[in-house]
Structures are given as C-alpha cells and as structure tokens.
Symmetry: C2
Subunit: 238 residues, 2 copies
Amino acid sequence: MHSHPLPYCEVKCEHCAVARLCLPMTAEEIPDVVFDNVVKRKIILKAGNALFRSNHPFKSFYAVRSGFLKSVLITKDGREQITGFYFPGELIGFDAVNSGYYNATLETLTDCEVCEISYGKMMELSNTTPSLQKHIIKLMSQRISHITCIRPNSQAKEKLASFLLNFINRIDRPRQTQKTYTLPMKRSDIGNHIGLSAETVTRTLTILKQENILSCSGKTITILDFRALQIISCSTYD
Amino acid sequence: MHSHPLPYCEVKCEHCAVARLCLPMTAEEIPDVVFDNVVKRKIILKAGNALFRSNHPFKSFYAVRSGFLKSVLITKDGREQITGFYFPGELIGFDAVNSGYYNATLETLTDCEVCEISYGKMMELSNTTPSLQKHIIKLMSQRISHITCIRPNSQAKEKLASFLLNFINRIDRPRQTQKTYTLPMKRSDIGNHIGLSAETVTRTLTILKQENILSCSGKTITILDFRALQIISCSTYD
DNA sequence: CGTGCAATTGATCTAACTCAACCAACGTGG
DNA sequence: CCACGTTGGTTGAGTTAGATCAATTGCACG
C-alpha cells in the first residue's frame, strides 16, 4: 500500500498484446517517432502498490498492459469505497480530465505493467489523427456503460450476476470458448464495489453454485450456465 | 409516456442561455454556417414524454437547453431503473457511442427544449477544432465523475446528501448565493436512482429537516447548513 | 510447517423495505 | 364553482434482506 519510485522500462506498442484495445495502433496513420512521444514508458508495479493517489494533479492517462487495478476513494471517516476496477487494455484517468486531479487512489490488485500516456501530447496528436480522437471517445463511452451496469436498488444475486457478466465481458472480448476465469480481486473488494458485504458475496456465490449456474473455489470461477446468469442480472448483455 | 412526432423549431446557439456549458461557442473559431450544420434544431417536449427509447440506433447527442430529463432502463421483469438525470447545459448520449444504440429510454421530467447534435458531423467538425474536441472529452469526464458520486455501500443519509450536493453542483455552477432550489424529480425517482425507497427518501429528508440542515416542502428545498451536508456526504465536493 | 490473510458458515441484529392508511395539491369535467 | 379522481408526499407498523459479529477452515507463501 506504500508508494515508492516507479520503475520504468522501454516499451514498443507494436509488441504489446493489448495495444489494439488501448489505442488505435495502425502504423500507417501514426509515425512511430510521434507515437513514442505520447506513450512514454512502461511502469512496473508489484501487487498492492499505488499508481497514483487521490488529489494528485492529473497530467496522464495510464493504459493497463497487464494486471489488474482498483480505484479507491477513502471517505473522511476512513471507510474505503472502490469506485472501479481496471483490466488489461483499459485506460485509467478519464474521470480526472474535468477536475484536473485524480479523484481516487489507484491500487494494483496484482503485479502490473502500465503505460503512461501524456494527456497534453495525446490531445495534440489527436488533433491530426481523427481515428485516435474517435477511439478515446469510444473508450470513455465504454467506461460510462461499465459504471452504469450495477443497479443500486437490486438484490444481491442480481448485483453479483451483473458484476460477473461485466467482468467477463471486459476480460474476454470477443468471448472465447473459455468458461473459467480467475477473479483478480477478493470477495470484500467485490462486495465493497457493488454494495454488499464480503459475507453476502460468499453466500450468494454459494447459492449460485447450488443452482449449478457456476462453480468456484477461491478466485477461480467457472460459468456453467451463462444464460441463467444473464436472466438473473436482468441486464442487456449479449 | 407516449412518444409522438417531435416538434422542431429553429434555434441559434448564440441566443442560448446554456450554450457556454453545452459546446464551446466562440464565434471566431467555428463559423456559424458550419456550426448550424452540426446543431440541427430545437426539439420541444412536454413533461412525461420520451426523447428516444432504449435500443434505438445512436446517431446524435442531445443538448438540454432547458428542462430536466431522466434516463430509464426497464429490466426484463418490468422494474424501472433510473440510471441518471440530465440538467440544462448537459449532453445526452455519451454511453451510446460505444454500443451504437441508446442503452436507456430518455424521459422528460418537465417541459424541455433539447438540441439535436449529429454525432458524425460533430466528429468531423472536431477534427479541425481542437477546442471542441477537448470540450467533449471534458464533458464526458464530468459525467463519469457525476455517476461515481453515489457510493453504493453507504447509509441512506449519506446517499441522499451526496445526491443533493451533486444536484446543486450541476444546477448552480459556479455556486450562487442562492440556497433554494426546485427538485425536478419526485421522491420515488430520487430513491430509485440512489437505491432507496421513496418512503426512505421522505424519512431521511425529515431527519435532515429536524437537524436544521435543510428545509423542504414538496419539490422546493432550501439548504440551511451546506457544510453539514458535505460532512454527511463524506464527499470531496467543494 | 507455521503464520497470516481470505473465505466460509452460523447466529444475531438492524436499516431499510413493504404495505397500508391518510393527506395535500391539482386538474378536469359537470 | 365545486365534486371528484389522480398523483405525490408523509407517517406508522410489521417484515426482511443483508449487515455485523464471531468462530472455523482453508490456503498461499516465506
């Protein structure tokens, strides 16, 4: 939970597995030399560290190259609120553009590789690169959809189903034949984020197991009946 | 709740009271003739009508010129979920860019004037207008912040305080000496949105009245102790 | 092979929900 | 102009989903 100097190393986007998700990486459109000026460096973080803290001035987005992070808000009386999770290929910092400072602390759930993307330089570049501009707006739109996916006045089962579907949609897109996933966060993190206690998350998972909708042990979860999960979530996921 | 042909009329942005919030309206940057091509027309809607419905194809943002709207999602078992409110000067439709269709039905809470902004044409225009591009991203960032403001695992009092502060911040920015506001939505809408029953909203308002933090009667609400409300909300509002 | 954190399970408790009655404001039509 | 229906708000009583507290087990890692 302590933040210390961030170790950097060189990175080439063309070698990045999640580049296509992160920024539109068509070499013919953006010359490498220009692009390298925008995406600075790869930051390596061990699990449990902070990428940045609440109220620090905003100057960069961060692209998740690998690993998982959570965005945490500490209320004045010391409680934690997890306002979101970040998965590989996703961009961090959209909420900070308006206020000019980061609204939450970004903590790694696992070891992470993160690329720093200068906001100012990216905006310059996007002036001459329509596809980049479109892509940013699309990613922001996507994030808005993700946030909206948990309905606050729904039951535990419904919330958890929505959370799991959202997780799968973001981690495994386009959806593979794969049905087994590793949850990067603990029960209490899930609960905190969707408005349940850790115990209720466990109990609800147990119910879903008994109903043969999924099986899970620890952080490993297998979806047995995808359709049932969709029905429970009442969502519009495909 | 019925949707019928939308009545249009001519509108000039330079005469609009909320133009400065909606799009960057510096005449020297964007020639009128170009701009008029993007902002199509003014739509007039009576209270209780739909601007658009869930799953309709997305092709335009809508700017709220006057009035108030709510965005409603109908779950498969018929329950309503209010995913957000829209106030004068705000843009509607950010969540639809990614999926290509509107994710919710937009219903007017009051009589409304709304301007249609072609997404495609606006993106074209923003290619040559850096300030427009920056503005859109800022507005999207702002919306992300607004959505995040209600913490799902907090008490009724805290939720309601956060909701009220968010409302005031959006309706009255920069903050005036004004302390009395008219809530455009009913108790059940507030409750639905923040995850409480209408009765609990009423009861919580009654408690806040007894504590001399606010006074309210029906839709008219007066903030007596702003600071106390901020403390209850545990928020970071200024 | 402990040590410590996370997950599970059970027992109680409570904040908020639901149901119901009542009131106030408002619009409509006779 | 008033009777009436409708809609929204308030208040009370009883119920419940999920929280809290506590004890136990499981597991990962040095």
